[in-house]
Amino acid sequence: MHNFITYYLGTGFWTSLLSSILPLIWIFPYALVAMWIELKVSAHMQDRLGPMRTGGWHGWAQPLADVAKLMQKEDIIPVAADKALYVLAPVLVFIGSYAAYAAIPFSPAYIGANINLGIFYIIAVSAIVVLGILMAGWASNNKWSLLGAMRTAAQLVSYEIPSSLAVLAVIMVAGSMNLNDICAAQSGWFWNWFAFGRFPFLFITFVIYFIASLAETNRAPFDIPEAESELVAGYHTEYSGMRFAFFYLAEYANMFTVSAVATLLFFGGWNSPFGAFMSGPVWGLFWLLSKAMVLIFVQIWLRWTLPRFRVDQLMYLSWKVLTPFALANIFIVGLWTVLK
């Protein structure tokens, strides 16, 4: 796809613009669908029905209606807020989650930026989200917002280490940081996927990464920064209208990023589970998206299953459980790789 674009448009400004916009074409419909799935899954898990009227069939248009409502809403900026930072924060949050899409190989033929440090870039750039959240919490000039932002920062240092260590184990096995290469190393049948390689150590790595990525997306059970029962809405308490929508969109974009990364690292990415059957550039896109959607469903499932962690419980989990396990995993996987 990228080659296709460069063939027709060269490698100038327009190519960059077009390839940077392409993931948006996926994000918007995906976010709407994910919102709807979240509404319906949460409702049915609580033996409710959820939206049933909007749009006719099972309230399929509810997210559309929500977005339309958010766009019409008044854009409120508190008088005491730091206006420049307040306006910049949601943009930065969205940039942080959107920038990661550049290095995600959606299919063997399409990757925004085929860089050798792909996974490293994604981990690095998605930390900008935390910067944006911290900015939002500080600029709102509201105690709830600030508390939520501080918690995000505290959370970041807790989850980034196990998640990075988990990624490191995969990198050692694949021998590359380029996500396309990592995917290619898992081609073939589904037992070639890294989740089932070096069994069970890489699967444990996957669990560690998944738990850490839940914390990264600030979703339950790790929604400590926005804990609505304690902090109103955490860092986005003061936001309304489109700016709030940006936070919301960023959350869903981030959910997809971490799911896509987990898919790429552990579940073969764009590889078909059946070897050469149903594989190719378009099937690659299908497999990546559907695998990521399954992981997103698991995220939603967990959100409506588990209660929120306390801050100290998160610290305990990250520092005393995930980090030692990730380190032990790295040691064993590394040893296995060396001695193979």
């Binding site: 409702a43 033996d47 029905l49 299953t305 588990l306 005393k320």
Partner: protein
Amino acid sequence: MNSVNRYFSNIGKGFWTVMVGMKVTMRHLFTPAVTVQYPDARMAIPERGRNRLYVNMDDCIGCNQCGMACPVDCITIETAKSLPTEDLGTTSTGQKKRLWVTQFDIDFAKCCYCGLCVPPCPTECIYMTDVYEFSEYNRNNLIYNFTTLTAEEAAAKTQQAREAEKEAAAKKAAAAAAAAAQKAAQAAKAVASTPPAPAIQPASPVAAANSKSEPAKTTRPGAQEDSGNSAVSSEQSVSAIEKPAEAAVNKDNTKDSAN
């Protein structure tokens, strides 16, 4: 070693409980929802549920027992006596109807759905139905007129009853006058025989003089109190009179919904 055991068993328990929780939520994902899609589907109303009142005017004898039982005074009943020549028929319980019910209004904005009006009814014509959806944008639309007479008919009946009453009063007065005349005649006959009457007359001016001179000041507050008390009762009656006026304004709207 104990703490190490606890550490690992904590992790194991943590995973186990998460799995159990996920199993529970997954099971509930596929259990049918308890939601009733309200306007499309409705829950069954309990058999003895108390919802909107209904008055079967065919059986109403206008006794106002329901109105008296009502703790919030939401039932307003006005009646007019029927002429002896009119036959209003009998109720289903075999009671003869003697009153035209010119007004039978229930204000459902006031009604507290206690059902106290139902047992006193001698003909069992007021009862609670299972209708519970009758919200209105205008509060006055919640005043339901149950009477079967139109406003003109009701006015005519009231007028007729009043005239009949007047006639009866006139007749009574005439009869009384006749009786008085008769008595007077008899008294005159009696006076002729024994004349003690003038002896009483001097006594009454004395009493009048007493009441004029001293208790004049005290009587006035007493009179005010009396008028105050009567004002309270008259207020109630005024509001009772106003209600029909309100109802008359919305008569056209409510007539449909009442039936």
